[in-house]
């Protein structure tokens, strides 16, 4: 008689069904050099581990060895898609430490430039998001329009992406004579294209099927994770720093805060985050029109620039509403002409940390859409 020997194996502990897949760091869908370690059960995502740091350029260490004005070009390179918006919180933080009040004209030019850059940023965000979902044509339309905005930047500052235009206390140079007409033409063009994009992409049945009810981010989770910008507003939280604590001259303009309402799916899904960007472009157009109307024609944009930037001992955290969310700079001064510490609180860095939370349980193809809807730039995540 033979005896069968049973080996005691707990089959539930063997992870034979799970697969680990590496996405990136060189992958078109990761919007830069981001590596995702994805754990898959069949085609369903069970866990995502983002690995970042491939673009780390030691911004914070370099900033400690530069004087205050020299830090600005490095800040341009954080979020290289919306450099104008990046410069604003830093220069305003240092101005607040120094107690400088900049001329009216400077404030208006800053606001116009920031809002133009916000439109350019959202155009890229929507274009690449459409690309992630498989729509190629809107990408071409939006990139064509973005080019017109970059032409204005090039005429005014000399740079297409990296400007070094906002200085502590003023601007690098005044705008050119036909600036106002150019900007108003752009606004017209942006509105025209946005109407087309709404028909072509936003309310397209295939696009809605891909993005609605995918990657749902509830409002309380978004706040707890520190999300900001369109990611937070897509979850239905009407929080915008331009309204909540108006900096610069944003309290003079009439505009609304678009929020996600779950029109085609659930509040806080990918479609909601995208529509917030779409509607924000219209609000930016409104701000630009009002600013162009109110902007004084005369004024020296360099009159308040200090000869030597040497803030008194102190520290400040100043934050602004970037296109991607809350960008804050924590500047510590020890009374010398170099900052003791500059910490950039990058919106993409914080927004990306919510990715594992909202992508669990969706298909792998949805993970790419969810990542696209967060709208990250690796330059500011890795700094």
């Amino acid at each position: 008689m033979t005896t069968t020997k049973f080996v005691d194996i707990d089959f539930s502990k063997i992870d034979s069904d799970r697969m680990r897949l590496n996405v990136g760091p060189q992958h078109p869908s990761t919007h830069g050099v981001l590596r995702l370690e994805v754990e898959l059960d069949g085609e369903v995502v069970t866990n995502v581990i983002p690995h970042i740091g491939y673009l780390h350029r030691c911004f914070e260490k370099i900033a400690e060895n530069m004087n205050y004005q020299q830090v600005i070009p490095y800040i341009d390179r954080m979020d290289y898609i919306s450099s104008m918006n990046n410069e604003l919180p830093y220069v305003m933080a240092v101005e607040k430490l120094l107690g400088i009040k900049v001329p009216e004209k400077v404030e208006y030019i800053r606001v116009i430039m920031c809002e133009l850059n916000r439109i350019a940023n959202h155009q890229i965000a929507i274009a690449t998001f459409g690309l992630d979902a498989g729509a190629f044509t809107p990408f071409l339309y939006l990139f064509r329009d973005r080019e017109y905005i970059l032409w204005i930047f090039e005429k005014a500052t000399g740079g297409r992406l990296l400007f070094n235009y906002f200085w502590v206390g003023g601007l690098a140079n005044d705008v050119y004579p036909t600036f106002k007409e150019d900007v108003l033409n752009i606004v017209k063009q942006v509105r025209k294209t946005n109407k087309e994009i709404e028909e072509l992409l936003i309310y397209n049945k295939i696009f809605i099927d891909r993005t609605a009810n995918v990657g749902i981010l509830p409002a309380d989770v978004a706040i707890n994770y520190g999300c900001s910008g369109p990611v937070l507003r897509g979850s239905g939280v009407p929080f915008d720093l331009r309204k909540a604590e108006p900096y610069s001259i944003y309290d003079r303009f009439d505009f609304e805060i678009p929020v996600g309402k779950g029109e085609v799916g659930t509040v806080g899904d990918c479609w909601d985050r995208n529509i917030v960007r779409m509607r924000e472009m219209e609000q930016s157009c409104r701000i630009i029109e009002q600013a162009i109307e109110q902007m004084p024609d005369t004024g020296d944009v360099q009159s308040a620039i200090p000869k030597k930037v040497r803030p008194p001992k102190g520290e400040i955290y100043f934050r602004c509403e970037n296109p991607k969310g809350e960008l804050g700079f924590y500047v510590v001064s020890d009374g010398k002409d170099k900052p003791y510490r500059v910490k950039g609180r990058a919106p993409s860095f914080v927004n990306l940390s919510v990715l594992p939370e909202i992508s669990r349980g969706y298909l792998f193809a949805d993970l790419i859409v969810i990542l696209g809807s967060i709208d990250i730039v690796l330059g500011e995540i890795d700094r």
């Binding site: 970042i52 914070e60 706040i223 707890n224 955290y317 924590y330 510490r341 860095f349």
Partner: protein, 158 residues
Amino acid sequence: MEVEDIYIKLKEKFGEAIIDLVNNPPSDPFINVSPEKLFDICLELRDNPEFDFDYLMCLSGLDYVDNLQVVYHIYSMKKKHKIVLKVTVPKENPKVPSIERIWRSADWHEREAYDLFGIIFEGHHNLIRILLPYDWEGYPLRKDYKEPEFYHGIRVPY
């Protein structure tokens, strides 16, 4: 709620653990707290409906040569007030309780502060380097940091 009111309320509840309030404009006012009670203080700030701090804006490390600091910028979405907490720890033994379980945004911020300053956040579920390679040596944002000559046979300074 103003910073002074928050300071008085916290002082009543935690006594010695709240060290002092520093307020000299144009700098942001901040409250020095002791690291032992930090977790309880943060929990109180979040859960007490009077404070209702639900949003951690920023968490930064700071190196003041003899000691290290962690700075917490906290904001309330509903009440629209903010506060800055500071914790000072000695450089030889930089241990701070993790507040990752209170505000999840602290997760990556604490990993960054560990990565660049070597501050140990006790109770963090996954305290590993985030920006630098996992086998990097030293903490670059410390003022006395010396960069290594070689990393895996690659010359570092150039």
